[in-house]
Structure formats: C-alpha cells, structure tokens
C-alpha cells in the first residue's frame, strides 16, 4: 500500500518520506520490520562474515570476531591474490562450457516448448510427453552417473573424434568440456521446456490462430510471432540455466574428475582448495568462494527479478 503513495508527490525528499512512514507506523508494524531485519541478518551474516574474513591476515582471524571487519593492521589482499591465481584458469574453463550449454539449452527448450504448446494435437498424448519431460527435471542425477561415465568413456569417445583439435596443441582433457556441454544441454532440456511452456501457454491465441488460418506454417509462426515475443522468458531461462550450470559440481566431478586437469572448472578447484593446502586456511577458502561466486552474484544482482521468476516456476 505504501509503495504506490509516494509517487504522487514528486518533490518529497527521502527523509521527509521516511519521517512520514515513521509517523504512520504502529507498534505492530515496527515489530514486523524488526523481525524482517533479523531475518535479513540471518541470510546476510554467513556471506558477510565470509567476505570480511577473506581480507584478514592470519592473526586478525584469531583476534577479531568472525563478522567484524579486519581493521587496518589485519587487512590483506594476499589471500585474494592466491585464490585468483589458483582459480583463474578454472573460471575460463567454466565459462567455456557454461555459456554454450546455457545458450543451446535455452534455444532448444524454447523450440521444444513451442512444439508442445501452440500446435494442436491430442491432449492426452501431449500430456504423456510432458509428463516424461517434467519427470526428467526431478531425476536424481546419481541414477544416470554410471551409464553416463560408460557412455562417454566407452561409447562416444570424443577424445578420438576431436583428435584434430588436440593436434593444434589443446590439451585433450578439454574433451571433458565438450562432454559437459552436451550433458548439460541434455539434462537442461526438461526445465527449459517447462519454463518456456508456462510462458507460451499465456500467449494470445487469436494472433496465432489467424496466422495459421492465413496458411502460415508452424515454422513461420514460430519465427515471426512466438520467437520475437519470447525475449523476457529467454532472459529468465538464460539466467536460471547459467546459474545452475555454473554452480553444478557433480557432473564436472564425474566428467573432468581431477582438479589438477588443465580443463578443471572453477567449482572443482574450489572444492579442493582447502584440502590441497596445509591446515584450515579459512581466509583463502573465503576469498576463493567469493571469487568463484562472482559471475553468479553479478547475474543475481543485475537480474534478480528474472532469477526469482525462473526459480519460482
């Protein structure tokens, strides 16, 4: 209710508005805000304490509270330096599969959803296809891991197919990156299809029907009407998929396997960052965690709305 009101008085300053809000506030409201702020604190503190810790020297970690800033004497960039050195190549590798896999699965998802939503065919058969697709979202990936390993190591040996690439001096570990792209696309199709389908279901039927009556083919309807209108949903799907693929550890672990590999993605190196060094270097872990999270954090900060929409569907 208070969201719409301040718009009417353009000249009001923030402080005046704030004062007016405070005047109108009852005890109940105040309690509500206190609860909300405490909840916000609960979500922020783990992240905030990680951030401040990443800038602390070894002594500052012991002497200051975990969530307190390091202070001038205990401040250092050293851990970030080490973390960036260790993770930078992983960032490149992650981008190398996350970006293509995201784009391809979004496009494929859009096409699939179109074929299953706009054209008219028997609903009961459509429902079977849709059920199989939606169930695919929820399959625990553990149930496909062993066959997946078999498939990529024994049946489709990309290692040999792509030998001309290795001849150019690229490490053949990068076959793992190609495998990751295909794997993520295949397992991303269900969720992308579902997201686009919820959107296409709300599309105006009259426009499409009249185009169909004019003799437009399905392909033409997609290219001329549906695709140009899919922009907002593409934003949602791209953001959702990018976050998912970037954050996934299981497939990278199985398909690339070792963090020492030149093709190791960033999550794989990060998972081993603490263990490969002596003791519990928390500052380094925190710096690494933040560095690895930068792309998804940036996406979240700039496209929070779209992210929420993708998650909620």
């Amino acid at each position: 209710m208070s969201d719409t009101k301040p718009r009417t008085d353009g000249g009001a300053t923030t402080t005046a508005r704030l004062r007016r809000t405070l005047d109108r506030m009852t005890v109940e409201d105040a309690g509500l805000y206190v609860v909300l702020l405490f909840a916000a604190l609960f979500y922020i503190v783990p992240i905030e304490s990680g951030l401040v810790t990443s800038f602390k020297t070894g002594t500052a970690i012991i002497e200051t509270a975990p969530f307190a800033p390091p202070g001038p004497s205990g401040f250092t960039f050293e851990k970030w330096q080490t973390a960036i050195d260790a993770l930078l190549r992983g960032m490149g590798n992650s981008l190398l599969y996350a970006v293509p896999a995201t784009v391809i699965s979004a496009i494929v998802g859009s096409i699939t959803a179109y074929g299953l939503t706009i054209p008219t065919w028997k609903k009961s058969y459509k429902a079977v296809v849709l059920m199989l697709i939606i169930a695919g979202i929820f399959i625990p990936y553990q149930a496909v891991l062993v066959p997946l390993t078999q498939f990529w190591s024994q049946w489709a040996q990309l290692d040999q197919v792509l030998s001309f690439v290795w001849a150019l001096g690229v490490s053949n570990d990068y076959a793992g990156i190609v495998e990751l792209v295909i794997t993520h696309v295949a397992y991303g199709i269900p969720i992308c299809t579902l997201l686009f389908r919820t959107y296409y279901k709300t599309m105006s039927e009259e426009m499409i029907e009249s185009a169909r009556l004019d003799g437009a083919t399905l392909r033409r309807v997609y290219r001329r009407i549906v695709l140009p209108l899919s922009g907002p949903m593409f934003a949602v799907v791209l953001i959702y998929q990018f976050t998912q693929i970037w954050n996934d550890l299981l497939f990278t672990l199985v398909l690339v396997s070792t963090e020492s590999s030149p093709a190791a993605p960033v999550v794989l190196i990060l998972a081993g960052l603490g263990t490969s060094l002596e003791g519990q270097d928390f500052a380094l872990r925190m710096a690494g965690a933040f560095f690895a999270a930068l792309p998804t954090l940036a996406v979240y900060i700039f496209f929070g709305e779209e992210f929420a929409e993708g998650v909620a569907a």
Partner: protein, 348 residues
C-alpha cells in the same frame, strides 16, 4: 517395426542420416501405427498416408509439430530414461574395478542383497530420510513465514526479497565454505552465538549426532528463500476479498491465515515440497565440498554421497548403480503422485 520407424524418421527429417537406434530408445511414445497397409504402395504415397493416419490419430498438427519437440525429446529421453534403464542393467551385473564394460550375460540381484546387509547403506538411507523430512518441513515453514511477513504491504519489499533469495544464487561449493567457517570449532559464529547463552562450544561438524542437523540447518538457510518466492506467488494469487471477508467475520490475524489463507496455498506447498524433497535426495555437492572428498563428515553420509563414493572412489560400479536405483525409486515415489496430481488439475 524397424521399417516403420525408419519411415517415420524420414518423414520427420528427410535430410538427416539414419539413426534409428535413437528413435527406438523412446519408441513408446508412438503407439501402434498402421504398418500393415504400407508395404505394397510406392514409398512417397506410403509416407503421405502414414502422415495422414498419424495426424488423424494424434491431432491435426502432430506431424508438422514433431520436428520441434521430437528431436529434443529423444535426446533427453536417451540421456534420462535410456540411462536409467542402462543403470538398472548395470546394477544387476558384477561390474567393478577397471573392467572396461559390464558383463551383461550374468544378471542377478546380488548388489541389492549386498546393500541390505551393508550397515553403511542402512545408515545412509536413514540419514537420507531424516534429511528429506526435516529439511523439507523446516524450509517450507521458514519460507511461508517470510512470505506472509513480506506480503503485508511493507516498504523495501524488493530489498528484503532480494536478500532472502540471495543464497539460492550461490553454488553449494561456495556456501559449504561459508558454513565451514561458521561451524568452525575455535572461532566460528555458531559457537560464539550459543556462547552468549552460556552453551558450547560444540563441534558441529565433528560430532556424529549433531552434524546431520547442522547440515540441514545450513541447507535450510540456502533454500528458504526459494520456498518464500513460491509462497509469495501463491499469496499474490489469492483475491484480496478473502482477507477482507475474514476480517469482517472478526477473525484474528492468526486465525485468518490458519483458516483462510494457508489452505489456499496447497498447490504452492505441494510443488515446493516436491522440489525440496527431490533436492534433499540428491544433495551431494554441499556434502562433498564440506570435506573436499568423497567421504562426507562422519554421521552425515546419505545415499547420494554413498552412491558416488562407491562408484567413483571404490570403483564398485555395479554396487553404486544399485544404490542409485534405490534413490531413483525414492524420487519416483515423490514425483509420480505429483505428476498425477498436476495432470488432474489440468496443469500439464
């Protein structure tokens, strides 16, 4: 039958090569087509008639639209359902160590009897169930509470929502690092918080009786924002009049939510619960990252971690596959009823 598939395939994509094996992987979708009347006709005529017959059976746009959804559907079907069936086969073999491929000639249920006799498996199964139930229930409750609070027409609604959902955008590998730091024995926040109440210090990740609950708490932190978003969408769909009618009837705020609003959030609860439960089953990334290895902290082993460890660390491929099938069965037990429910509500 193969002939029928080949012809069907040619109708769908006239230019592409012959990969009938792929088509067959999910042939179940195409039910008994009219193969009998085809052979004597010339090929072109036969395909045209086949197309007409299929369109008649499945609806007017079936053939024309299949080029859009069928290839992706088959790719997905191969990777998901093909792999699950393959996994089932592997779980019946004795595949292990550095054998290149499973020996499919001798199939039995040895791996499943082995699982039942393995106390590690039983423990992991129990832990999975605890995680599943507590994590789902807790996350839903926190999410619902946040959604109701945020929906009360507050200022800075977007900022609060953004903060609550923030952990969802982070990788489990990343959040595991944060929680390692929080649960750290010497100077972690968890111990300083309970320290102010005169308790602790507690070895959160070292104590076998506590570690699972500590992990559930951390996962709730990460996922309650998700539950909040789902509930918020549900709340927004409830007409304002329902609130007002309850107010007019003199119901207290608490009673109004309990009697009028929350029952209307059934759909949101079900879909969020399914997502959370299925997630709880496959929560692998977080546990792996806590230790940076295949063995999670003692007392926190779940089926998802045990499966990966058996297969990829101990190289007991068939045994890992068997555990995976158990996990798949559990997931199916959740997804199956959900899909039927959605179908009944005409939501598919």
């Amino acid at each position: 039958m193969p002939d029928f598939f080949r012809r069907l395939h040619r109708t769908i994509s006239p230019s592409s090569g012959d990969d009938e094996s792929e088509v067959r992987a999910d042939g179940g979708v195409v039910s008994d087509g009219p193969t009998a009347d085809a052979p004597t006709e010339p090929d072109r005529d036969a395909t045209a008639r086949l197309k007409a017959a299929l369109d008649r059976r499945f609806g007017s746009d079936f053939m024309e639209s299949s080029i859009f959804w069928l290839p992706p559907f088959l790719l997905m079907g191969l990777f998901v359902y093909g792999a699950v069936i393959w996994n089932l086969l592997i779980s019946l073999t004795d595949y292990q160590r550095f054998e290149n491929a499973p020996d499919y000639s001798d199939l039995d249920f040895e791996m499943y009897t082995r699982a039942l006799a393995d106390s590690g498996f039983i423990d992991a199964a129990v832990n999975t169930l605890i995680l599943l139930l507590l994590f789902t229930a807790g996350t839903l409750m926190v999410g619902l509470l946040l959604a109701i609070l945020i929906d009360r027409g507050i200022r800075f609604e977007n900022s609060f929502r953004t903060i609550y959902l923030l952990p969802m955008s982070l990788s489990f590998v990343v959040t595991a690092q944060f929680w390692l730091w929080i649960y750290n024995y010497n100077n972690g926040i968890a111990n300083s918080v309970i320290g102010t109440f005169g308790l602790g210090p507690v070895s959160w990740l070292g104590n076998q009786d506590i570690v699972l609950y500590a992990i559930i708490f951390a996962l709730m932190w990460q996922f309650s924002g998700y539950a909040m978003v789902v509930y918020l969408a549900g709340l927004r769909a409830i007409p304002r009049e329902h609130y007002e009618a309850a107010k007019v009837d003199g119901a207290s705020t608490l009673k109004m939510y309990w009697r009028v609003i929350i029952p209307q959030l059934k759909g949101a609860t079900i879909s969020a619960a399914v997502v959370l439960m299925v997630f709880g089953m496959k929560a692998f990334d977080f546990l792996y990252s806590l230790t940076g290895g295949y063995r999670p902290p003692n007392g926190a082993d779940i089926l998802a971690t045990k499966m990966v460890r058996e297969a990829y660390a101990n190289l007991n491929w068939a045994y890992g596959a068997a555990i995976a099938i158990v996990l798949f069965g559990m997931a199916l037990g959740v997804i199956g009823p959900y899909l039927v429910y959605e179908y009944r509500r005409d939501n598919l």
